[in-house]
């Protein structure tokens, strides 16, 4: 089973704040980490490899320093790291990013499965996984909480829903995005870290993946950010206490006052 795992380097949200002047992320001095959901996708890929054999390629799109998360992926069990990086990709929205990553996947060639995290913790859009699947015309399932069975013909997965889960069967090749419940990621191994240190990270530029100029970067991004602002607080909150019956009474009293 040959698997591609998409991994994004993100600022550690524990440290992130908005610059009140410009309304953009203040990234100075903020540590970069592997997107937490992607860590679960990687763990699942490595577990599948350990059980069924095959290879795991970690794929990332980002600036040259994103190489660090690919090395980390290798230390956690990925065989190889591929970084899609080019100045021409700057300003890409989720659609242009999906296109770019899809081109990179086509360039890499054969694969059975693509795994992504549910979403990145910086943008929180959850669009790139499904976007890639659309570009690649692959069947996909988002928010996978469990891989039930898997063989050469296809897989059966559980998709997390608000009130339970769906069981979905889909053929291979396919794309899945995963939630944290799917597994508990391992600590990078010592031999993995040593391998990661020496590993050569393959860099793919725009020309290497045959990307069309109008489809990448700002030019390929239909999303236009008109303005960014910090929403005003929405007024006072009230927390009722006491027994449920008392709380309901208090709530009704307050609603009566309003009405």
């Amino acid at each position: 089973m040959d698997i591609i795992v998409c991994i994004k380097q993100v600022p550690d949200t524990k440290d992130v704040r908005l610059d009140p002047e410009t309304n953009t992320l203040a990234r100075e001095g903020v540590e970069s980490i592997m997107n937490p959901f992607d860590r679960h996708a990687l763990e699942e890929a490595v577990r599948i490899k350990e059980e069924l054999g095959g290879t795991v390629i970690a794929l990332s799109m980002g600036p040259p320093q994103a190489e660090a998360v690919l090395r980390e992926a290798i230390s956690c069990g990925a065989d190889e790291g591929v970084l899609v990086s080019d100045r021409a990709f700057a300003g890409a929205d989720t659609w242009a990013t999906s296109y770019t990553l899809a081109r990179a996947v086509v360039t890499l060639g054969n694969f059975d499965l693509i795994l992504c995290g549910k979403q990145a913790i910086d943008g929180d859009t959850a669009q790139v996984g499904p976007g890639m699947a659309s570009q690649l015309k692959l069947p996909y399932v988002t928010c996978v909480q469990k891989l039930r069975t898997m063989d050469e013909t296809g897989l059966v997965v559980e998709r997390m829903m608000d009130d339970g889960y769906d069981v979905v069967r889909l053929p291979l090749p396919a794309l899945l995005t995963v939630v944290k419940d799917i597994n508990e990621p391992r600590v990078p191994s010592l031999k993995g870290k040593m391998r990661a240190k020496k590993a050569e990270i393959r860099i793919l530029h725009a020309a290497d993946i045959g990307a069309e100029e109008q489809c990448i970067g700002l030019a390929g991004s239909p999303t236009k950010v008109v303005s960014v602002f910090t929403p005003k607080p929405r007024g006072n909150r009230t927390v009722f206490s006491g027994t449920p019956a008392e709380q309901v009474e208090q709530l009704f009293a307050q609603l009566r006052d309003i009405l």
Partner: protein, 383 residues
């Protein structure tokens, strides 16, 4: 303080620290309360290659020495000494094979230890043989192509959880210590069983059980080293394992100091954080002084051993005594700094204080260690 670790050693520290932070600390109170063996954490350690740290590269390990074990154990003990003890006992259990085993035995057992597929344990102590190791009553008699073992081992760490046991048995009781040999007994061998799991004061995540051998028959080739050399191997084993116990004290002392300082900074009395009071500052300062001195001695000893030094017993005993006494003192003082909160199970320092006590007792009581140091001094000054 900078101890000039190599890049690889720093990697080992980081990995063990991550295991402690991610896998041990979140569950340590629960393991302690339930007296539960940390099987899944040991599997996590195996995946992270920590079991391979001290196994030679030719058998699938990373080829580290005593110092690398010390680094791992210190970090694990910052999380939980009970969990770290299970790791230490595994190393102790396989040392006899590494020291005196045949090439075939090494090829058979070491790759499984390095990968964490199987764990080891060390069976020396008996009801009548504690500090006086020559009181071993377990016997081994050769019967055709098999050794037949009879006897009961007591308080064996990893007992019932490990799959490979280094057992000390008398092959010639009339010769005293020169009549002892070491055998490998495996889980599932006929006549080999386990007694009840002990209910301990501390290190409750570790498993301590009796090993019972009743006409236990094992193949002839399970003898480790030559017949009658068992005690020499035991002494060599303990010489290199004691810095590991010392490092458990260092890790535990560090954890207790961390808790005490953080608490002292946030606890306000008389309108000020209690760390601003000299009485508290001096306690914390003494804890830090003792801790760093212990760490320096343990690291120096481990490096001395890895340098293939000839005389290691004295320093090995010295670091075990110093670091374990330090851990007892520092954890007791940490409880004092936290006051009433420190005495409550809700806070981690009371467990640390319970865990510390064993370090002064197992792998040779601190009194026996002082005997060793005294005897070595006597020898040194004889010339």
């Amino acid at each position: 303080m900078d101890y000039f670790l190599t890049e690889e050693q720093q990697m080992i520290v980081d990995t063990a620290r991550e295991i402690a932070r991610e896998k041990i600390i979140p569950v340590r109170a629960e393991l302690d309360e339930r007296n539960e063996f940390p099987t899944s954490i040991l599997k996590d350690m195996a995946k992270a290659d920590l079991f391979g740290v001290f196994v030679p590269e030719e058998f699938g390990g990373l080829g580290g020495g005593c110092f690398e074990i010390v680094l791992v154990l210190e970090e694990l003990a910052r999380g939980c000494v009970g969990v770290a003890t299970s790791f230490a006992a595994n190393a102790l259990g396989i040392f006899p094979v590494m020291i005196a085993g045949s090439q075939e035995q090494k090829e058979h057992y070491l790759p499984d230890i390095a990968s964490g597929r199987r764990w080891a344990a060390f069976g020396l102590t008996e009801a009548s043989a504690g500090s006086d190791a020559s009181g071993v009553r377990t016997t081994a008699v050769l019967d055709g192509d098999e050794w037949v073992l009879n006897g009961t081992k007591q308080w064996i760490t990893n007992g019932g959880e490990a799959q490979i046991y280094s057992i000390v048995a008398m092959t010639d009781p009339s010769k005293g210590p020169r009549g002892a040999s070491i055998f490998i007994v495996e889980d599932g061998d006929p006549g080999f069983s386990y007694g009840k799991k002990e209910d301990k004061m501390g290190i409750r995540a570790s498993a301590t059980r009796e090993l019972i051998m009743k006409d236990c028959r094992i193949p002839k080739d399970r003898l480790v080293g030559r017949k009658g050399t068992g005690f020499i191997t035991v002494m060599k084993t303990l010489d290199i394992s004691r810095p590991g116990i010392a490092s458990l004290g260092v890790g535990l002392g560090q954890a207790a100091l961390d808790e005490a300082v953080v608490y002292a900074k946030q606890r306000v009395q008389f309108g000020k954080p209690i760390i601003s009071f000299q009485a508290v500052q001096h306690m914390l300062a003494d804890m830090a002084i003792q801790l760093e001195a212990a760490r320096a001695l343990v690291y120096a000893t481990a490096r001395h051993i890895d340098g293939n030094a000839k005389e290691v017993s004295k320093v090995s005993s010295m670091c075990k005594v110093f670091a374990s006494d330090m851990a007892m003192k520092v954890t007791t003082d940490a409880v004092q700094v936290l006051g009433g909160y420190g005495y409550m199970r809700e806070y981690p320092v009371e467990k640390m204080m319970r865990d510390a006590k064993i370090l002064q007792i197992y792998e040779g009581t601190n009194q026996i260690q002082r005997n060793v140091i005294g005897q070595e001094l006597n020898k040194e000054y004889a010339a």
